[in-house]
Symmetry: C2
């Protein structure tokens, strides 16, 4: 039996995590990331920007590049902070933070214009340019993040103070954009508002927001291209578009005709997330098919093993199939956050665990690597090889990633479970409690385990009365030989669309015990990937591993793993907050004479390899790092 209707994530308030792996990261997010972000937003002036006339008088501007300035998307950074902080309130009530959010919300509300428009930059700094360059200037992107912030703020606190503001703003925008008389047939240059409007629809139930999201998605890529029309209206030559192609923002053809993941990676992920959500809401088969085609393209041709994507810095995005450079990988943190958004929606839409596998890969690897264990240093790019000079930073000229990380971590519960009328799906394994309604009854599902270090996972059921429904437990594609018992009796764990499926009458006290065999695995890239030829990656459960120089006796590039040699895993409670490391025998080229070139190959000597999870790299002193390691065929 498979999913019969699109599942939805549980409400934030329905999940509580108490997990040895995630909880310290979430605590660092709450205790360190959130205050650090607020301080930075204050420092750069993003919060003061809401004091519109006063702010404009200060004459503060930031140098532009590519006809943009980071000030143009300050609203989105503030919004993401609100979203993250609000989600944090659910798991960690904090009156001071609640008041701080209220204060920011009040300032935002105060900056809303009489007609509903709300954007600090185009009200205070360049009011004359309002709504004239959606291609480059991110107004709808900012609006989207404000809407997402409002939805989460409402979900977390029950308050409508920001929700009311964004609904007014959404209605203003719905008046501006559309195909009706006097409207502009536009859509965002940087997608975001589409998925935000769908969230707004889900939380308010108001179909106007669903309709507006559907309009944006349907209009995208229509001819004549809106960004040409808009450029001509500005008096610009559309051929002067700096990115050179509307593939950059996935506006080259209508979305249902798109077959290849192209352009800016974050934009692509946000767009596809919205497409998947709309396909579910509308039962739109063509849109679902487009999502599935794009997914196949990404996962077969362009996804890093770490769940990163978008190898190129020049377009912050995609290049060619099988082009996966390691040391120059851009692989923006936000792109992997966006991939988790999309994957969660695809899993919900299709009921297929393969999507949740990729969601897990993104979350446990490139999303987590984006923030230090301490919670106050961030990666924008996530290379798979570093000479030791690629480090986390405290802030960035374009600080999109830190608050994006903060909001996805604070709302992790939405990724652990999914629910529909008669099904509960467990997508991630993390000690937690889910309280939800299923089959007309109140269910409390408690999950315990030490994943990803250990593969035994225990779930217990509490119900107000016996009830018949389905529990779906994801069996990751890498888990060979998973076993499952219900109340101690073995049941069939053969994956159906990636899930062990148990439908029965459940009673309080029922217990599921799942075992996912966890062993170090060797992973090889498709032979068409030039950059990984002759190399091997190591994985353990959902985690991709890397070698850091300071754990080895040899240079990383000099080190080679003999194929077939056993690797062992060992939990080290002292290392990096407690991680399972992978160890194995290796050989290393021996540094000998002075000659730069020689007729004799380097001699080798035995050495040991120690690998750590990629998620926690660059949390010690600067040192080289590699995910893909040389392998010697014996």
């Amino acid at each position: 039996m498979t999913a019969t209707e699109p599942a939805r994530p549980p409400a934030l308030t329905q999940v509580r995590l108490h997990d040895a792996f995630w909880s310290p990261r979430l605590e660092a997010n709450r205790a360190h990331t959130l205050p650090a972000l607020y301080a930075k937003l204050q420092e750069v002036g993003a919060l003061d920007a809401y004091d519109l006339p006063e702010y404009a008088k200060k004459g503060i501007t930031i140098p532009k590049t590519h006809h943009v300035t980071p000030q143009m998307w300050w609203d989105s950074d503030v919004a993401k902070w609100i979203e993250a902080a609000s989600a944090s309130l659910v798991t960690h009530p904090d009156a001071a933070l609640d008041a701080q959010i209220d204060d920011v919300v009040e300032r935002i509300a105060g900056a809303q214009q009489p007609d509903g428009y709300l954007n600090t930059y185009f009200t205070a700094i360049e009011p004359g340019k309002k709504l004239t360059n959606e291609r480059d200037w991110h107004e709808l992107y900012n609006a989207g993040h404000l809407i997402e912030a409002a939805v989460t703020h409402h979900q977390a606190t029950g308050k409508t103070s920001l929700l009311d503001v964004v609904e007014r703003y959404a209605r203003f925008l719905a008046g501006v954009y559309g195909t009706g008389p006097g409207q502009r047939p536009g859509y965002p240059g940087h997608e975001e508002i589409e998925l935000a409007l769908l969230r707004l629809y889900h939380v308010t139930g108001r179909r106007e927001h669903l309709d507006f999201a559907r309009y944006f998605l349907n209009q995208r890529g229509a001819l004549p291209n809106y960004f040409e029309t808009e450029a001509l209206a500005r008096g610009d030559d559309p051929r002067d578009f700096w990115a050179g192609t509307y593939e950059y923002m996935q506006a080259h053809v209508p979305v249902r005709e798109q077959t290849q993941v192209v352009g800016h990676a974050v934009r692509a992920m946000y767009l596809y997330a919205a497409m998947a959500d709309l396909a579910a809401a509308d039962g739109d088969a063509a849109l679902r098919a487009a999502c599935e085609r794009l997914w196949a393209d990404l996962t077969r041709h362009s996804l890093y093993v770490t769940g990163g994507l978008g190898p190129s810095a020049s377009n912050e995005g995609m290049t060619r199939p099988y082009d996966l450079p390691n040391d120059t990988a851009y692989a923006e943190t936000c792109a992997s956050v966006g991939l988790a958004f999309w994957a969660r929606r695809m899993a919900a839409l299709t009921g297929d665990g393969a999507y949740a596998d990729v969601m897990e890969r993104a979350l446990y690897n490139t999303v987590l690597s984006g923030v230090s264990l301490s919670g106050d240093a961030f990666l924008y790019e996530n290379p798979l090889e570093s000479d030791g000079t690629h480090r986390r930073w405290a802030w960035h000229a374009c600080p999109c990633c830190p608050p994006n990380l903060a909001r996805i971590l604070a709302s992790l519960g939405e990724y652990v479970y999914a629910v529909s009328a008669r099904e509960v799906t467990v997508n991630l394994y993390a000690s937690s409690t889910l309280r939800t309604d299923v089959a007309g009854h109140r269910l409390t599902l408690t999950q315990e385990g030490a994943y990803p270090w250990r593969g035994d996972i225990h779930l217990s059921v509490e119900l107000d009365a016996p009830a018949t429904f389905t529990v779906r437990l994801r069996i990751p594609s890498w888990a060979q030989g998973a076993t499952l018992t219900v109340n101690g009796e073995a049941v069939d764990a053969t994956p159906q669309q990636g899930y062990a499926v148990v439908t029965r009458e459940w009673r309080s006290g029922d217990r599921l015990d799942l075992t996912l065999p966890l062993v170090p695995r060797r992973t090889y890239a498709h032979p068409a990937v030039r950059q990984d030829a002759g190399l091997v990656a190591l994985e353990y459960g959902p985690l991709v591993y890397c070698a850091e120089g300071l754990d080895q006796d040899a240079d990383l590039h000099a080190l080679s793993l003999p194929r077939g040699l056993a690797l062992s895993a060992r939990f080290d409670p002292e290392l990096l907050g407690g991680v399972t490391i992978i160890e194995g025998d290796a050989v290393a080229d021996t540094v000998g004479g002075d000659d730069l070139y020689s007729a004799a190959p380097p001699s080798t000597h035995p050495t040991r390899l120690t690998a750590i999870p990629y998620a926690v790299w660059d949390n010690r002193e600067p040192t080289p790092m590699r995910v893909w390691l040389r392998e010697t065929v014996r």
Copy 2:
């Protein structure tokens, strides 16, 4: 017995080449490169620039980057064309070309100012900025190239029309720059004039030019740094120097204190060439020691196997020891031309064949790869790996390399031989005739062979009378088991400082027969070179080989050479004008399923490798290329 005095290159008129390998390249240079360069210089306006007032009226300017425009170094491009064209007249008299040169020389002379100053840009376009920014604006660099042009023009034609002009200009500059009263303690931002002045000294015998060259070399890097003084005089903040460090132009410390090759690679090579030449002229041991230190640094840490150098595009130069990226290698053609300049002078200064080995490596590989077989398409960067998109072009915004190639090829004879009072040194093996004086007698030395395809080299002696002198034949360091006979009788060929040395009374009809064993060789990089770990390069004689995709059945990155397996060499008269190819059995990863990542390593299948000389890569349709190939240890 080793060299007892610094050798000098023969005059251009003393060497005639008739070599199956080089002569077609030199003929392409003469027949195609020279006219193509002239046409381009005319097309961009570089020749018209000498019509100073008229040109200025046209208002032609080219957009600047980094405070410079290519117009600022047009004079050098014209000069290099004169130099190349003049040298070509020696081997291929051509009245039309001679007249064309005279015409350009006349225009140059006409642009010389009453005080001797001569620079089109700072006379016609921005006269107010004359002599104000030697750090960035290349005035002394242009002067250097004019001087070199004049020297070669004079050597080739006996004319003094340009020589007179540049001597006046040199005297003007010697009045401006110096440590005397009213003089500026400056020196070039882009070195070139130093080696040019030394050439001017050698051809004129006037010590004033030697003294001026010595001044420039001694002053370089003195405190306070001249470029700071100069910036302050302009009203600029010296800290705003875009390159950030005077290492960029090797002006960070005095030249005798320099220990590491740093900064812009071409500048470094031109500087060191001048240092070696001055060390020879002055018998300056400290300067020679600096040259030897810098040479050891380059050849032990930073020289590509192809004789390229300067891996980084950002400074067109050096980075860190052992940093030798292949696909992003900048390795500017001009840098390898400059390396040949330096190496020739080091070989002459020290009598050590190790320098000529590197000179040969540069000439046969990265210098030759800089120009197509057809002579009309050029490489600026010379990567050691390409995905097929790195192609030669017909011109460049900064067209320094094509005329640099043209002049070094046209003057190749200077690299084949070196002469001193009682010694003749054969540094390169190429069918040719040298006519020179040695030990007070007239010698004609004729060399015959099919190098680099075959290793048997035959030299015959013709003398006006029997004479005792030394013949030194370079035994390349890769040549194991070289043998030598004189008049059919074996003589000791054990290299002394890299040369087989024969001192005897020579008579007309004497014959030397040298055999250098030529076999395909495998070459490995030092284990500290991250980018070459696990890889092997193939060489044959002086040639480095590469694999081009169109010669293989498998993708280049999928292909691996089993270590120890025999490789064979075969001359293919039809391929690329006739080249020896290297062939061998190889294995290739088999492209199988759709999965981007897999637990199973790729299976392999047997295949064949065909490698061609790097010197002739990218002379067919676009195709990937690699020098460093994967090697499998069996």
